[in-house]
């Protein structure tokens, strides 16, 4: 039965058909599969398949990324409410777009993947001041601050990642909290993330999900 559920679910995700994906999941629950199994045996493997597909296909369609990440996030959120025991969370991330930047969609993909990968995400929204990134990260005990910037001036400007780095340094938090960045300017210049003081970057939202999980794991073991 599980094989068929996985096949049907992957098919629905591939077709970006959210209604069909929920139908598969609801039928699975009705047939006795637990919410935990839906997440760990169906949804997370599907996200991983999606990640490897996307690394293989550089021309993959951005609209499809948005839709598949959204399906993963919505299904996971619904399943989490049905967990018998509270889910074990890998880590916590605060995420937002840099000051002056209102492009929220890259952030959306990252959030969708992180939620499906059992990372707790606090969305600080768009146009987030550097100070707020830091105070909220401290407040929520976040492992990672994720900053999305889609324009050159918000990616490289004084009020974006650079300032977050300066504040972390000032407050002695550099070894507790990592900074990751994403957005078009970092794709054009693969070394730019270092220039602005980040610990990591990713070319797209889905790769960012994996990179953040790796950073959290590395932080916990070090």
């Amino acid at each position: 039965m599980l094989d068929r559920i996985i096949r049907d679910y992957n098919e629905a995700v591939f077709e970006t058909d959210k209604d069909a994906a929920f139908e598969v999941v609801n039928n699975a629950l009705a047939n006795g599969l637990s919410a935990e199994d839906v997440v760990f045996k169906v949804v997370i493997p599907a996200v991983e398949v999606m990640m490897s597909d996307i690394t293989r296909d550089p021309d993959a369609n951005l609209a499809q990324h948005f839709m598949t990440a959204q399906i993963a996030a919505e299904v996971t959120e619904k399943m989490l409410t049905k967990f018998v025991h509270p889910p074990e969370i890998i880590g916590r991330v605060v995420i937002g777009t840099a000051a002056g930047d209102l492009h929220s969609l890259g952030k959306r993909i990252v959030m969708g993947c992180l939620k499906a990968l059992m990372v707790e995400v606090v969305d600080l929204g768009v146009n987030v001041p550097a100070e707020k990134f830091v105070t909220e990260a401290v407040h929520y005990g976040a492992d990672v601050i994720a900053i999305s910037a889609m324009m050159v001036h918000t990616a490289t400007g004084e009020n974006g990642a650079r300032k977050v780095r300066a504040l972390l340094k000032e407050q002695g938090l550099e070894h507790q909290i990592r900074i990751v960045v994403g957005g078009a300017p970092y794709r054009f210049d693969n070394e730019l993330y270092k220039t602005v003081g980040a610990d990591g970057w990713a070319a797209d939202g889905i790769a960012a999900g994996k990179m953040i999980v790796d950073l959290i794991r590395a932080g916990k073991t070090s």
């Binding site: 970006t16 021309d59 499809q64 948005f66 002056g100 969609l105 001036h153």
Partner: protein, 539 residues
């Protein structure tokens, strides 16, 4: 069906081209819609005799008095005719031995223009005026005699700032913190506008510099970013989201220099203030041209373009917003995208048998897709199952893309083009939903939907509905407008009240910043699939 179409074949030293035009069109008017032009200096009155062409054969009107006066008997004996005087009654073949240099400025097809009625201003002098719609991708303008109420000529051409970014944010970003580049961007747009005016004066009037002195007003509408880049003022404020709730001052600080650059010493150069944030005065112009607020509540206006603007009239207030629709609908950003010019695929037909057929502007060989052709292509491929609702091709089309005509590489569509299209239509649809929600209305409350902007008259409404760009409302309540922003600017130019008409509209406006609408992103993602909008779902 409308007026019968005829074919005009033109032989030049560069080769042979065939155009499809309405019967009754003069050869000159037919060519002014293309990049191929005859020499001209009088505006098509037959007064200058510069537009001689050789008629090789075909059904045309007989020579006019002007032709007897301007052409030598020996010339006439060889078949020489004046292109402005000779009208096509059927298919015809002409030769042009010495065409005018190619120009990027074309006349706007007369059927696209909206009549500009009403009282005229009292003007003792400097009676000429120019109305300009300064778009991100295209500039449109019209020269008027404001005293007689005569539209003398129109032009449409590309905005030369495109090299600094197809979309408004990249272009603003290019100018930000770089005064030299900001000055260069301003100069590009200013030069383009005056070149278009000079093109009209040279070809349609016959004298340039003296006429520039007779221009009393230039009125310019545009989205906020274009106004800021033209004036060189307001761009920094526009890049800062803290300023997006209010009106951004984009007025030039160098008005006299502006007049001097254009050699228009008597012209009041009037940039119509935008509404708020990225919501520009081109939207106000659309509202004037469509008279949206004259009708009942539930009227929606969509100006599709690189910066898409939307207005919803609820009977008392105008809810407005702007969304980066993306330049795809203007044919920019697609591998084979182009403006709706000669050779653009503007309509794709559902296959009766196995083959997909399409039509191009002027019936010439396909050179690419314009916005309406893209909408049609996506809808047709979706209907045939060659494209899936996810935006994937059923069978991967390979490196040459999906060819509508296997023999023509310019008819290829690529996965990225479909993606660009999906994102543009989802942003448009999600923004309309956000406005409806703000006004407390649903799709079924909409009694009138005016579609202005990039598609012009060519949009196939049923196809736009099938892919989820337009809501599946009764087609009778959907109206298509070409060049509505220009028409609104013309109203501002000609009304005795002048630009105050814009200010009056502006007072009814409530602007919405979509970045502050919390579930806009969810709605956007929901609208990415290629499927009709669900109008019965509560918004």
């Amino acid at each position: 069906m409308g007026i019968a179409q005829v074919h005009l074949t033109v032989v030049t030293p560069a080769g042979e081209q065939t155009f499809r035009v309405p019967a009754g069109t003069s050869v000159r008017d037919a060519l002014d819609l293309t990049e191929l032009r005859v020499r001209a200096a009088c505006g098509g009155s037959g007064g200058c005799g510069a537009c001689g062409v050789t008629l090789i054969g075909g059904a045309v009107t007989p020579p006019t008095t002007a032709e007897y006066m301007k052409l030598q008997p020996a010339e006439r004996a060889c078949g020489v005719r004046l292109a402005c005087q000779m009208r096509l009654q059927g298919d015809a073949l002409v030769r042009i031995d010495d065409p005018a240099p190619p120009s990027q400025w074309r006349s706007i097809p007369p059927e696209e223009l909206i009549p500009s009625p009403g009282a005229l201003p009292e003007l003792p002098q400097h009676v000429y005026g120019v109305a300009v719609d300064l778009g991100t991708t295209h500039i449109r303008l019209a020269l008027w005699n404001r005293k007689t109420g005569q539209r003398m000529a129109t032009r449409r051409g590309p905005n030369p700032q495109g090299g600094f970014g197809a979309d408004v944010l990249n272009r603003l970003s290019a100018a930000h913190g770089n005064p030299a580049r900001a000055a260069e961007l301003a100069k590009l747009a200013r030069t383009a506008i005056v070149q278009a005016v000079r093109d009209i004066l040279k070809r349609d009037v016959g004298e340039v510099t003296p006429m520039l002195k007779e221009i009393g007003e230039v009125i310019i509408v545009g989205n906020t970013a274009m106004l800021a880049l033209l004036s060189g003022h307001g761009g920094a404020a526009l890049l800062d989201p803290d300023h997006w709730a209010g009106r951004i001052d984009c007025q030039p600080t160098d008005r006299t220099a502006f007049q001097a650059q254009w050699f228009m010493p008597h012209a009041t150069i009037h940039l119509v203030d935008s509404v708020a944030g990225f919501i520009g005065s081109d939207l106000l112009a659309d509202l004037l041209a469509t008279r949206l607020t004259d009708g009942p509540a539930g009227a929606l206006l969509l100006d599709v373009g690189t910066n898409t603007e939307i207005a919803l009239w609820d009977g008392t207030r105008l809810h407005v917003t702007a969304v980066p629709g993306g330049p795809a609908f203007e044919g920019v950003g697609l591998r084979n995208g182009m403006a709706a010019e000669t050779g653009a695929i503007y309509r794709v037909c559902r296959p009766v048998s196995a083959d997909i057929s399409f039509e191009t502007v002027a019936g010439t060989p396909a050179r690419g897709f314009c916005g309406s052709g893209l909408v049609d292509a996506v809808a047709v491929l979706l209907a045939t199952g060659q494209l899936k609702p996810s935006g994937r091709f059923a069978v991967s089309p390979g490196p040459d893309g999906f060819l509508l005509d296997p023999a023509n590489l310019c008819t290829a569509l690529f996965s990225q083009d479909i993606d660009t299209f999906q994102r543009a239509k989802a942003a448009t649809a999600a923004a309309m939903v956000a406005l409806l929600e703000r006004a407390g209305l649903g799709w079924t409350d909409i009694t009138r939907l005016c579609v202005c902007g990039a598609f012009g008259h060519r949009l196939d409404v049923a196809n736009a509905q099938a892919v989820g760009l337009l809501p599946p409302l009764n087609p009778a309540c959907i109206e298509l407008f070409a060049d509505a922003s220009l028409a609104g600017a013309e109203i501002g130019l000609l009304q005795p009240a002048g630009a105050a008409v814009f200010a009056a509209l502006g007072e009814r406006v409530a602007a919405i910043n979509l970045a502050q609408v919390s579930d806009y992103d969810d709605r956007y993602i929901d609208h990415l699939r290629l499927r009709p909008i669900d109008i019965n779902r509560k918004v």
